[in-house]
Symmetry: C2
Subunit: 308 residues, 2 copies
Amino acid sequence: MILTVTLNFALDITYELDRVEWGRTNAVRPVGRRAGGKGVNVARTLHQLGHAVTVTGLAGGTTGAVAREELTTSGMTDAMVEVSGESRSTLVVVEAGGEVTGFSEPGPEVSGLEWDGFADDFPDLVDGASVVVLSGSVPPGVPVDAYARLIGLAGAVGVPVVLDSHGDALVHGVAAGPAVVAINAEELSGVLGSDEVSVVAGAERLRRHGVSAVVVSSGPDGIVCVTEEGSWRAAPPERLSGNPIGAGDAATAALAVGLVEGRSWPERLCDAVAVSAAAVCAPLAGSFDDSVYRRLLARLEAEEIGAS
Amino acid sequence: MILTVTLNFALDITYELDRVEWGRTNAVRPVGRRAGGKGVNVARTLHQLGHAVTVTGLAGGTTGAVAREELTTSGMTDAMVEVSGESRSTLVVVEAGGEVTGFSEPGPEVSGLEWDGFADDFPDLVDGASVVVLSGSVPPGVPVDAYARLIGLAGAVGVPVVLDSHGDALVHGVAAGPAVVAINAEELSGVLGSDEVSVVAGAERLRRHGVSAVVVSSGPDGIVCVTEEGSWRAAPPERLSGNPIGAGDAATAALAVGLVEGRSWPERLCDAVAVSAAAVCAPLAGSFDDSVYRRLLARLEAEEIGAS
């Protein structure tokens, strides 16, 4: 079982329409409404890839309850922990021309007691997991070293962690030594405080802070990994258009699978690129187009990058 | 008591942010979340004006339940009728620069049995009302002559009706003889099938189909009424910026009050213009800025329009 952690759990709402008229009221077509947050997208991808997955994190209120119900209906195991605040919604507006605009609410205020309760019960959940994936932002009230604490707890029972976050939560998380850090190029620039460093050099710099492997996605330009064993790059062999929200989470799911199955880094990278591109072709975050995935995977090759 | 009818009841969500970056994911500030639909906006304005108000319509699912709870908390009487479908959400995105963009979901599929049940129980609700206000679109499955049927039922027990709708529901409603039709200039053009008719001539044409008074709002250009007793025009004496969604509903509320209290048409018109402009100054649809309302009301005068 792979355990995904979504501290800022959400109800994802997707609106589809031909074209948004800004400054007006727009009628939208019947909408998608399902559990969300980056960790849930990862879990959904893992489930579609055929892996058993348990979803944990903090959920509250009616919004949390509706999202949890959908989680179970979709075949994932719900191990969310209840908080007193109301879980957030996230909205994605998809225009027929391909423009995708998202709106992300801050999330519920979580008390110190609620957070401690989650962390105290976390080892029991980790106990049955082969890998833990920590994804996304932390809701208000959860301390900035939250991921560092969870990485420590997983490490204590020998379960490796894949971390995808940004800002201070990422900085603290990196210091706790996750097995893999999976981020996008923008998050990497953000945490380095500069966008004048190449992706490879930036990933290498981050890796030296105690991570075995840093994987950086640059959207359609592909993915780079910098690991103890070497560095590789892979990119989709064709341009794909669609909804890029959740594509990074699909890549993270592939990296978790690679860790479980002990695949080589070039294999993991090709898998991450293929599923990520296939996710762009599916209208809802967390899903991927199976035929696109297979087609790309057959054509992909990772290229080794010389030491910088 | 004034009875407002919202067949397409909603949970209104308002996002505020400095500026939307289209094609990206935008972090939004903590959000407003309350009962909505045009009839609820009317009810909220009536409540703020100090009138007892009962809200009915069709509500379903978790979204309906959350919205109904807010309705009661806000001091309105909840007489919604439960349907099996899930009530819709509407989203309003307000940018600091004043741009307001709305997204409106279609609403739940209502069965013929559910609609008949509502109509059968309607006379009991109307029984205690001084005026009935019918507002907005009808959800999928509700027949296009829905408002005509409700106007007939209210007429049978001598309770006058204010109707604010558009398209076919408006056309059918007009034929059933409501006391007042309150619409905006765009809805008038839509129902006349032409925007080459002046607002006054168009309102007169609509009135001849069996309505005592037709009131047409042209946003910041003010409101025109064409009635059996004459025609008047009033416009806000100053330009106000803010959220125009719900401003028309505030005007409709003022017209309902004018009907209850037997005010003159020039008085009703000034009241409608003042509360509508004051609604633009309040961030959430259904609320108005009390001091703006009083200030404008003191300065407003209606101008009589000669026979066309």
